[in-house]
Symmetry: C2
Subunit: 308 residues, 2 copies
């Protein structure tokens, strides 16, 4: 799957992933009205609204980008109906040829991580049969529990030719609280990065590993260091746009081959119509605003990479 | 909810939580057969089997223990049908008067952690209405992202009078890989423990905080230290029984008041009938075996506490 992701990045010339993190306040009123008319102001109504909203965005951007990253929390908050909308979104994006990165940040002790890995990337056995539960292409994984928590995912990645992105240095303001603590001479995130490299050596694609890392766009200096620590690791970079990251901050996340990083934008794309810059599209044409925002982001990143 | 948990511990005289972590290999064949006859060897069949299996155990033990801890991964692996079984289990346990600790180990950046908190502990707004998604009483939280990732849970805990248990030192063999790293003079888990104490000071129950900690039974020395670092923090202790922890290892997790810790056993109780010790009950009476295992565990812990 890392090979497919890279191939699609090269074909679209866009190292971009669109974060499908729907919040009701982003969903245009016409979509909310239609969903509530059918299902009432219920969890089912909310789930229908976010699904229709997602579908509009995916239809408008699927030819421009290699991948999407639905954040499962935004669906899970609506309980079972929300998770059904998550699954519909994953399936629809795959039908459209997009690589799907499930942003699930799971991680537990061995047997439990195995259950998450099986449920999100692999197949679970039921009697003589086996079924995919959620069937994303990649998922994000939390490393706090160490190798026990990560290796079950790697096992399933090998079987399914899928991948993971392990949290190394997250984009949020308080990520340094534990991740930046100095262990001897090195911050904790660097040790985690070294471990990610080691885990990744066990399952290499053609040029990059199936085991990637998450490093926030909001920490460009750390990104530069981690790029060197993990040369064969693809880095998923959240925090562009709404969280403050800019194209120029991102060049050091990439290798000399122009690869090695994929930049996520969520709100900046999916709620573009709510920004002054794209307000001319209006609420009815929210998906066109998202398309325009993707094209601008693509130009910003390409410009920054060309200028380095 | 921490007050209710303590009250129930005192009433049952059992600082015990039963981990409802069903795996198909634990589910008695008569239950599997009935479920597959109705739904086929499908995800729905598996979900029905684990739900019926859980129900049998809960009916057999609900009067003996204060709380249960369903591990969501074991349900999530069966996709949407599995999560429906999780929700049914949560609801049924609450009907039976049990405190429900959702072992979800979520944690993300601010707005995303808020969605998890709302979905699992609080209510999500949909138009003019608000709904509980999963509605556990407590959930477990991963601290790797720092305060941003934890505070949204604390906010919802205050609103709903519910609680969390933050991972500090986990029970698995590789937990030391990052958690034991020395930051200056102190291991990382101690710093996390200090932070848990600080977070907990913001929302105190009558004698303990709404913010608890997870510390594995398999690390008794670390438990002793962390007990002192977090005097008002309730500690959820996994790893008893099947993972290797014994009653005598656990005394230092408790305060002098005999409170401050609640010990989890999963496999050791729910799959008791598969152990030699309880084999006499037979597969058909698996729930009676679970009841006997709870009584033995209660005695083991009470004996260890009396002998200290």
């Amino acid at each position: 799957m890392i090979n497919k992701l890279i191939e699609k990045i090269q074909k679209t010339q866009a190292p971009i992933v669109v974060g499908l993190d729907p919040m009701m306040k982003y969903v245009p009123s016409q979509i909310q009205k239609a969903a509530f008319a059918e299902f009432g102001e219920t969890l089912e109504g909310a789930a229908e609204a976010i699904w229709q909203y997602n579908k509009g965005i995916v239809d408008a951007i699927y030819d421009l980008v290699p991948a999407v990253k639905p954040q499962i929390a935004m669906y899970e908050q609506f309980g079972i109906p929300g998770l059904i909308a998550f699954k519909k979104t994953v399936d629809y994006c795959k039908e459209k040829g997009l690589v799907v990165i499930g942003d699930i940040k799971r991680g537990d002790i061995g047997s439990t991580s195995e259950a998450y890995a099986v449920g999100h990337l692999g197949k679970v056995s039921v009697g003589a049969n086996a079924f995919y539960g959620f069937d994303e292409d990649f998922v994000t994984v939390n490393p706090y529990l160490g190798s026990d928590g990560v290796k079950p995912f790697i096992k399933v990645c090998k079987e399914e030719k899928k991948g993971i992105f392990v949290l190394v240095k997250t984009s949020n303001p308080s990520s340094g609280e534990f991740q930046d603590r100095l262990v001897g001479e090195k911050p904790l995130y660097e040790l985690v990065g070294e471990q990610v490299r080691a885990w990744g050596e066990e399952c290499m694609g053609d040029s990059y590993s199936y085991v990637g890392a998450v490093v926030g766009a909001t920490y460009p200096e750390q990104g530069k260091l981690l790029r060197k620590v993990m040369p064969k690791t693809f880095i998923l970079v959240p925090g562009y746009g709404a969280q403050g990251g800019k194209g120029a901050d991102l060049v050091h996340f990439f290798n000399e081959d122009g690869l090695g990083a994929i930049i996520n934008s969520s709100r900046g794309i999916i709620a573009a119509f709510q920004q002054e810059k794209y307000a001319k599209y209006g609420e009815a044409n929210y998906a066109d605003a998202s398309r325009a925002a993707v094209l601008d982001m693509k130009e910003d990143i390409a410009g920054a990479l060309a200028a380095r």
